[in-house]
Symmetry: C5
Subunit: 353 residues, 5 copies
């Protein structure tokens, strides 16, 4: 749960010292380059940061995607290549950032969070995606290979006019849109889990179902924490006066903003529904307990007086006239029935049965 | 409950791809056209989008209402006909929108939610209504046939001067007003259900009543979620600087805004009252349980000592002087009465009876 | 509880159709006119709206008070007479309005709520009061006869200089001030009820007291709902740039604003105190229950082992050496005492006694 | 608790009618005058308001302090003397005001609350202090004699340069500063009570401790209600554009503002801690109850089966082979031990012991 | 807990009287001076405030760090030396300040809180750090020796260009950054404690774990109270129009602002998770209790009827035909088995087993 693993490694270092904070991973980073304009597309896998330099020139849009940010040296080289502020390189490799947007004049810097479901235990995995875009280039940094950007790549390859004609700002928007759209898939999955849970809790309120509610509640806390700042990021982009963002792109940004609001709305709704589900669980459990207590009370209050009667005539006094009388036994029998029936009627009247 | 059914279908598609999200329905869409000015009214059912084109011309107001948005092709054709932004067509067919307003210069785009009660299970059905209006036309898109707009149609047919003289902005306002007025009917119904529920919970707090409270609570979560953004939509219209909205219409918009505030207010009040009802249920249940426990305790604590006494004189010791004595039995009888009566008095003094 | 009784009657009607929403009442409306300036006062009861027309002229302030708004025709006639917007007439007769203020240029329109205690069941009755004032007239509309304006009438009759010299804006302020001052009387009454309730809950936490708490809580929900918007109404008047309100009146408006804030403050405090009272009730009940459980446990745990002992020596085995021994009975007697006393000491040490 | 005692007396009176609302007190008001400048100090006790008039002249600062506001006549005379607005005199004698600030051009009017601990029952007493200051005079009105202003008087008498050189605004600030500083003493006392309470609740959760928590909670509600508006009062002074407040005084006002924020902060913290204390109480009680229930269950479940066994062999059937057998008794003895021990082990394994 | 120890000492003193509020400590304060520019560095431990005076001159940055603020005389001397406002000296020695920022034109004054873990009991120790910086000097005041500034000292000594070239504003930023970075270490530690606690609460919900939750909750209240105002402090610095802060430093301030937001975010997340942990504890306890109650109920309801049967045939009536019959005993045996088994099946069907 500790959301700042290794963050303490950084304490005491001068500002702008890039230290990779996050899960360590072996292997080289993977650098993919898309260089395109309306008529032309070049796709390349670069082995070194330096190989990307030539793409910067010309009137093409250059998209450089880096998978793996543990190789701090490469990220720093990229920073030097594109003239990025040292604090920014530090932010990219520190996977513990809150989604944010920074306007650095020549380029905009966006940090956001991509969500992956973890198949094993139904929790979510967060991946930090940093996007930097200038007038003719987009840099995207991810923690792992495998992302939600493939449809964008395909649209570029297929030469969809909108994708190829538009500038770097449209590409950056497309990346954000892909990330936000991906949230819906996860929310749908979550919605189904909550639906099932609710059905289960009504019919069979086991402690296991309770644990599931509590796990989802915690999941919601983290989900909320990552998605809320996205709202500010995208509205920040929309309201930005940077001339890197062209007017037609703003309509699209408003659209992705609407989607983000909807994601937040859905998360808040799920939280409310989880609260109701929790209430249903608690009242189901309490109903069961009350039933248990009633059974105990009914059994006990019927039999305790009866047992007293039998105890009474089990006493060994020499002089107990009732014991000698031939009517004694039938009278006790009748008396016991009267007690039992009247108790039963009392409980019936009280609606305890 | 999953509020984004099939939304995931859209992930990976380029922005502006209209994909119908919602319940699938067979059959064609139904297109109705009202074309009117102060002196003239033409009403027509069009079979194709293309048939609507001629109405655009002239100094009349044209209201085109489309029932059924599953036929994406028709909606797209309409979009092309009226020069709508592609993202907008996407929003119309995606029934999972949050109420919103967008100013596109030549026309305003409004998304809102119409409520229908579902007779079977007392829940609500939501229907998305999209309204687009320019200087001389209003387009309205609904999911199903059957709406709350019939009174408006009748007023147009009867030639009510206000309705016929005013422009497209007044017609758009009338549609919004009809939708908001409709909420009151549903709120009244809800109010009655809550009243009945409260009466029931006081007299007979069954788990069924609890389930009803929880169902209403969930209903309120969704109701709230759809009505709150309506406030921003209508105040957005009112504050809009678009010259599509004429000054006299603004007075009416403020009126419908007041109604929306009142709807929200009523929803919040109902939520508060449901909380109180929940508290009443819980305290009723807890009162009953306490009563049950008291009965158990009283019966048990009166009879347990008595049973001990009878057990005592049921022992088979050869040498128990009390058993032989002719006073033994009467003394035990008296002792038992004393124990029972003093216990009774103790409980009486403690106000447990 | 349903706060919009008959509101649904309006759905489907064109905007500006005045439909009386509220309790129906037989009889005519009562129209009272005060026409005054510094030197002159005329008081009249008009039988028709038309009779009020002459008072409009001249340099006097005209106050027309209408008791009973079920006669929609009269209200409409008044609307025509004074040139009021049709939506406004609709608002006056619809008693389901939220307090609000509207600036219509030539006149200001204020809706507010007057409170009456209902002697029978200790609930409140709400009455909608609509106030319209222009440069030289004030119209006030009430649901029933009987109001809090008598002191104002008396001051006018007595010719108090402040009342008679000031304009229509001061009169309108006086009406608002009378309404807000009236809240204090009700709040004092409420405060006393809450005080009594708290004392009762500590000494004798009956379910009846709980019902009273819950009733007051509901009362507070409605009270709050009606008073909160008053704040915006009066601050709206104060900040208004309308030249109908003269500067000296603003000082008075700020004073009534302070009073409204104080009313709201008191309501919030009462809500908080009701919560504490509820907590006190719940903990009192829980204390009692714990006491009940302890008594049961003590009685049961002392006697259950003793009963076992007596049962043991009540067994009918032929060969039980203890039964034959003359020491058997005294030893069992001693053993029982030891068990009882040690149990008692155990409970004493555990502080259960 | 009723926070508006006698407030209802005012309903129906014309605005600006000063009616003393608050505890009635016999005796005359006490008027003290300090008249000073850098070189000169005159201190006098006036018996009549009129005696204060001469001090108004000259280039000295005049501080008139009135103890006791029940003598409405004197307050009114003072109002006339200094040309105060009638509503203001009304506010001074109505001790039910919310702290506020009003700028009347020639003078500023401040209402605030002074706190006194009530030694008897540990509650707080509120006293309303009204401060009016113009360019060369400060009027302060208190409900009772005895205040926190003595150190200010001493500083004036001792001729501390800062106190004597500065104008009326600095004196007004000094009064506010004394009032706010006084809150800290009370908060410290409260802090200690909460600390003690928490320690007590952990070791010995009695209902008395609970009552103490609830009393403190209520105290906090009133404390909060009086201190929150002080924040607006002082920030209102600081932001005021009135030329009665000189620039050097603003630094001091910001300081007292910081103190007010700290008081509010501490109150909020105490509220949070009281909530935690309440939780500790509830969980302590619930722990105890669970222990009680466990003891009952363990005793009952061990002895109930054993009692059944003894009952079984206490039956009087003629033909019960076990009763005749010489092994019968030892076997039952062994069986009972086995049952008791296995039950014990079961509970031990379940960690109920 | 009392957060204002000795604060009451100040009540009644004139404003600007520096009184040390906080833990008293013997010994002299320790004064360390760093005087540097790009090429030059002088480090000195001064024994008197006066020794620092020469460093003020020249085009170097002078950092004077004072450990220990109980020696009010020295702090006052420093105040005189650097021309500080008397209220400011008062704030420095009063360790009960809320984090704040004040712009005094020639210098900026910052109060913030440094956190130290207390090894003994896992609580936090707060230390107030006051920072004052002008165009060429930085004064920092701490309560105790030992701080988080050593890495900054080392960077200065090593002559890191960024540290040495930049002005006083960068040094002040570095101090703030060190303080905020230090929070992460403590948050990580807290995160681990919360993780462990949660695991423990699921497996073994002891009252000790509950106490730990409650202790952490209280810790969070204080943590929150100290860190929230830091946000305003740093955003105040960032938005400040003071020309003491150069533009390049602002980028760094935004960075430390982001860190502060992240600290606040993490605290809020921890609070939410503690709430969930509390819920888990409560439901674990309640599950256990329910299990206990079920065992009691099952044992009691099986054996109570059986005990009644045995009691019945333990009665000593002379005329009980069943007792004489040779089939009596086997029939009762069978009957008892039937009762026990049917009870068992009933509980099984009810899922109580």
């Amino acid at each position: 749960m500790s959301k700042s693993p290794g963050r303490s490694k950084k304490a005491g270092l001068p500002p702008g010292s890039p230290v990779h904070v996050g899960e360590s991973k072996p292997g080289k980073v993977k650098i993919t380059v898309f260089d395109y304009n309306e008529t032309h597309l070049k796709e390349e896998v670069a082995s070194k940061v330096e190989e990307c330099a030539p793409f910067k020139k010309g009137n093409t849009v250059t998209w450089i995607n880096i998978d793996g940010i543990h190789d701090v040296k490469s990220i720093e080289a990229m920073g030097v290549e594109f003239g990025l502020h040292p604090l920014l390189v530090e932010d990219i490799v520190n996977t513990d950032q809150r989604p944010k947007i920074e306007d650095h004049g020549d380029y905009l810097f966006i940090v956001c969070k991509m969500l992956h479901p973890e198949p094993k235990n139904g929790r979510f995995l967060w991946e930090q995606v940093s996007i930097i875009f200038g007038s003719s280039y987009v840099l995207s940094f991810q923690e792992h290979e495998g992302d939600v950007f493939d449809p964008i790549r395909n649209r570029l390859r297929e030469g969809k006019p909108m994708s190829r004609k538009s500038g770097a700002d449209y590409l950056a928007y497309s990346l954000l849109d892909a990330i936000v759209d991906n949230y819906f898939i996860l929310l749908e999955e979550l919605g189904e889990r909550i639906d099932n849970l609710e059905a289960k809790v009504v019919s069979d309120p086991t402690p296991k179902a309770l644990r599931e509610i509590q796990k989802l509640k915690k999941e919601m806390i983290f989900l909320r924490r990552s998605v809320w700042p996205m709202r500010d990021v995208i509205s920040g982009l929309d309201r930005s006066e940077s001339n890197l963002i062209h007017k037609p792109t703003k309509v699209y940004l408003r659209d992705v903003y609407d989607h983000t609001i909807q994601v937040i709305d859905t998360i808040e709704t799920y939280r409310d529904i989880l609260s109701v589900t929790m209430d249903i669980y608690l009242s189901s459990i309490s109903n069961r307990m009350n039933e248990v207590m009633k059974v105990l009370t009914i059994i006990a209050t019927i039999f305790i007086p009866l047992t007293f009667i039998t105890g009474w005539y089990g006493m060994n006094f020499r002089h107990m006239p009732e014991l000698e009388s031939p009517l004694g036994y039938p009278i006790v029998l009748a008396m016991s029935l009267v007690v039992a029936v009247s108790m039963y009627l009392y409980f019936y009247k009280k609606k305890w049965l």
